[in-house]
């Protein structure tokens, strides 16, 4: 994985850039000492590290605008950073960049139950958005696994999902408005307390643009009344294909579960050894959760179990209490940790049409043999979002590269099957050079044209999302102009 060479002219002006930033921010918010910038050298894709030239921690929209204006004038690349939990390297710095961290911007600006919305500064963590409204019976629906730590800014940048998005949608379906600062420091308001854009859907375009179009400082989010209750059923099958057919039948039956989670045998075995959740040893395990009143849950679960019985499950375990629900979820929630006990792992994020699940799992099994690396599959089955976890040994020379090559093959397979490279983690640097697999040059050109409009100098998070060879001509002029 390559990153562009740092611009020496930018590096040579570090002192001047720092001095100018200190004019608009408190000194404590401008981090330039090499020992301290190291704290920002990577995100959750820890295989790649590079300390930034400077990191800044503004506390409101005006400060962000002031920082961006200076960086724009000085021709310094800016890498926005939420909480640094990206698994795709979305917040990986370059040596010549300013990291713009939104961590100090974590306030609630307004809660409005009448209109079912909350307005927050985007450094606020995902879980604390729900925290601000849950006592009044509301919640914020998107729930990425990292929700305890991840920031709304990063959720918007990556259009994050979560286990419950089968029913509630992902970030873009729950985002109503943003305050965004453009690279030149201009502040733009898009959307708000109303639904749907009057003109072009810029909000939909900004969400998922990986911090390349602007820095979102405030967001209006849809909040929902909490359901009366929720309970899962666990089912085991001795065949992946049968489990896939069962998912399809549940969906067709008109029950709308909030989550349908899938685990394959390697993952079940690892999880059992680690968490001892009492899962059945079988080829495929499904956890299906529904919501409503007690009677509504009973009714939906009975329908789901009736469908499951037609597929000869080896195990069918309906939760009747909060304790039983917790036990069913325990294994799934510790799946990543369990795999991590065995070895280092790389977590992939492709999406496939649900119908091609058996084929894709079979091929992944075959490739696992070919590459000699173990892989376990955790899967949001309702929407086809796969998370294959490839095990490797980071201390063994060549193992990371082998793992990356295996990962790339799996993602190509997802595209071949009619799916895509990433369902909820984003492209970042991790899948950047695979974009050619999914998109033709004209497709990438259309996307890059959008960045040209929002950030003509390509200074915002420039070395991400697009293959370096595709974006080279656009990034180069900005540097050459110095």
């Amino acid at each position: 994985m390559e990153m562009p060479k740092p611009d020496k002219k930018v590096l040579s002006r570090k002192a001047r850039v720092v001095a100018r930033l200190q004019e608009v921010l408190p000194h404590s918010a401008v981090i330039h000492d090499e020992r301290e910038t190291r704290a920002y050298e990577c995100d959750a894709l820890t295989a790649y590290k590079c300390p930034p030239m400077v990191a800044v921690l503004p506390q409101d929209t005006n400060e962000v605008a002031a920082v961006l204006r200076i960086c724009h004038e000085e021709g310094v690349p800016v890498v926005p950073r939420g909480s640094g939990t990206s698994l795709a390297g979305g917040a990986l710095p370059t040596a010549d960049c300013v990291i713009l961290g939104v961590a100090r911007m974590n306030g609630v600006i307004e809660t409005d139950y009448e209109n079912r919305l909350i307005r927050v500064q985007t450094g606020r963590t995902n879980l604390s958005v729900t925290g601000a409204v849950e006592e009044d019976g509301f919640f914020y629906a998107p729930d990425p696994s990292s929700q305890l730590a991840c920031a709304i800014a990063g959720n918007i940048a990556m259009n994050s999902g979560g286990a419950h998005c089968l029913k509630y949608g992902v970030t873009t379906n729950n985002l109503m408005g943003v305050t965004m600062v453009m690279m030149d420091g201009e502040v733009v308001e898009v959307g708000g307390g109303h639904l749907d854009a009057g003109g072009l859907d810029l909000l939909g375009l900004i969400c998922g643009s990986e911090g390349q179009l602007g820095v979102v400082t405030e967001a209006t989010l849809r909040i929902l009344p909490k359901p009366e209750g929720a309970r899962p059923v666990l089912m085991g099958f001795d065949d992946n294909e049968v489990a896939g057919a069962c998912v399809s039948d549940i969906i067709k039956a008109g029950v709308l579960p909030v989550a349908i989670e899938f685990m394959d045998r390697p993952c079940i075995e690892a999880t059992e050894a680690f968490a001892k959740a009492g899962y059945p040893m079988c080829e495929a395990l499904l956890i299906v959760e529904v919501e409503g009143s007690e009677a509504e849950i009973d009714h939906q679960l009975s329908l789901i179990m009736e469908i499951a019985r037609r597929h000869n499950p080896v195990e069918l375990r309906e939760s009747k209490s909060a304790e039983e629900s917790a036990a069913i979820w325990l294994g799934r929630k510790s799946a990543f940790g369990a795999m991590g006990q065995i070895n280092d792992y790389m977590c992939l994020d492709g999406t496939i049409p649900v119908s091609s699940l058996p084929m894709v799992l079979r091929r992944i099994g075959e490739m696992s043999e070919e590459f000699g690396l173990k892989v376990g599959n955790v899967f949001h089955a309702g929407d086809g979002n796969m998370h294959p976890l490839i095990l490797f040994d980071a201390n063994k020379p060549g193992d990371l590269e082998l793992c990356e090559a295996f990962g790339a093959e799996i993602l190509k397979l997802c595209v071949e099957a009619g799916g895509c490279l990433t369902g909820e983690h984003g492209v970042g640097i991790e899948k950047r050079d695979l974009m050619h697999v999914q998109y033709a040059p004209a497709d990438l050109e259309a996307q890059m044209a959008v960045k040209d409009v929002f950030d003509p100098g390509w200074l915002l998070n420039p070395a991400k999302v697009f293959p370096l060879d595709a974006s080279e001509g656009r990034r180069a002029p900005a540097l050459a102009a110095e």
Binding site: A442, A449, V450
Partner: protein
């Protein structure tokens, strides 16, 4: 030119100096000047996987054909797109491409999302005649920028859709509506807000001041619908009006009419559509001083019927939302603008995007704020 394939579309775009008036069935009442370019000939469902809740269809496929195919599997377009034929007095066959190009969503939008939330993938021909694809046919996809959302609601100003893939949902077992009679506007919007703030999964929330009907729809399994009906009745027993219940047939009849704004179809006058914050709705409706008005989306959507030539935006002033001039004399729609003028920053981005996607300015010039 008769467009029968995506190649034909490419040829038509490359071979013209414009301007082109891009349309599906031409039923939505947006008719910019220019040579007509219709994708009605690009028709047919190319893929339907009921178990994956996804369908792919060519842009000119009639909506009716899609609804028939979905009904066979007991599924539907959950965002409940309205039919504009009767309200606008247009002729023609509504197409699936037209629905997404205009981001047409009905009453259920408040519960399940808009047309744009259901659109999974697009193929389109840009102003230079290049074929561009974005998104795909899976429900979770964050691979690159979301041009799918950008194309939804772009009214053919950035490119001509050739194919769309979208999410569908199962039809519920049944529906029913709770009706509160005798509330004024402010009481009705407050009652709808209470219902929307409950966990009882309301899928329609409308108020018709003419009939004084404040209507709340719930859908799902029979037992669940009757349970939630009881809970909502308890919740709204002090709302101030008389509570009644409509069964599935009566409920369906009301929401079909509500979806298509049937109340305004027969009467003359201009029609405006205002998207706003629900709690602002009664105040905005009062300011508009329309001849008739009704609310959907729990107040988030106001339909106004006004005297010919009324500048509704001037009456509303600045507010959180936007007003679209849906029906009126063409010269008045040109003079006042069909769409709400944008802030300087947003307008600059919009103009920039149009200049990049349609450098020659051949698509639907004059629509969406761009210069004629």
């Amino acid at each position: 030119m008769d467009i029968k394939s995506e190649e034909d579309l490419v040829e038509a775009v490359r071979g013209t100096d414009g301007p082109l008036s891009v349309k599906g069935g031409g039923t939505r009442g947006f008719a910019p000047s220019g040579d007509p370019l219709s994708v009605a000939g690009l028709s047919g469902i190319t893929l339907y996987e009921p178990g994956a809740l996804t369908m792919v269809a060519q842009a000119g496929t009639p909506v009716a054909e899609i609804e028939v195919a979905l009904a066979k599997e007991n599924q539907r377009l959950a965002f409940e797109p309205m039919d504009h034929l009767s309200l606008l007095g247009t002729k023609g066959t509504p197409t699936i491409g037209g629905i997404f190009a205009a981001n047409v969503s009905g009453p259920r939008r408040i519960a399940v999302g808009a047309a744009r939330d259901f659109l999974l993938g697009v193929r389109f021909v840009d102003g230079a005649g290049a074929v561009v694809k974005n998104g795909g046919r899976v429900m979770k996809n964050v691979t690159g920028y979301d041009l799918v959302k950008l194309m939804a609601g772009s009214f053919g100003t950035l490119g001509v859709l050739s194919e769309v893939s979208f999410k569908v949902l199962p039809c519920p077992e049944t529906e029913a509506s709770l009706v509160v009679h005798g509330l004024d506007d402010a009481q009705a919007i407050a009652a709808l807000a209470r219902a929307m703030g409950s966990p009882f999964e309301v899928t329609g929330a409308a108020y018709d001041p003419a009939a004084q009907h404040c209507v709340i729809r719930i859908e799902g399994f029979e037992s669940s619908v009757s349970y939630r009906m009881q809970r909502l009745k308890e919740l709204l027993k002090n709302a101030g009006g008389d509570i009644a219940e409509w069964d599935a047939a009566a409920s369906a009849k009301f929401w079909a009419a509500q979806r298509d704004v049937a109340a305004f179809a027969e009467d003359a006058g201009d029609v405006w559509r205002v998207s706003c914050k629900p709690s602002d709705a009664p105040m905005l409706a009062a300011k508009a001083g329309a001849e008739a008005h009704c609310y959907d989306w729990a107040g988030g959507l106001i339909w106004l019927r006004t005297a010919t030539g009324t500048d509704v935006r001037a009456r509303l002033g600045l507010f959180d939302g936007h007003a679209t001039f849906m029906r009126g004399a063409e010269d008045m729609r040109k003079a006042l603008g069909v769409f709400q003028p944008e802030s300087a920053g947003v307008a600059r981005l919009t103009a920039g995007l149009r200049a990049r996607f349609d450098p020659r300015g051949i698509f639907n010039s004059g629509l969406m704020g761009a210069a004629q």
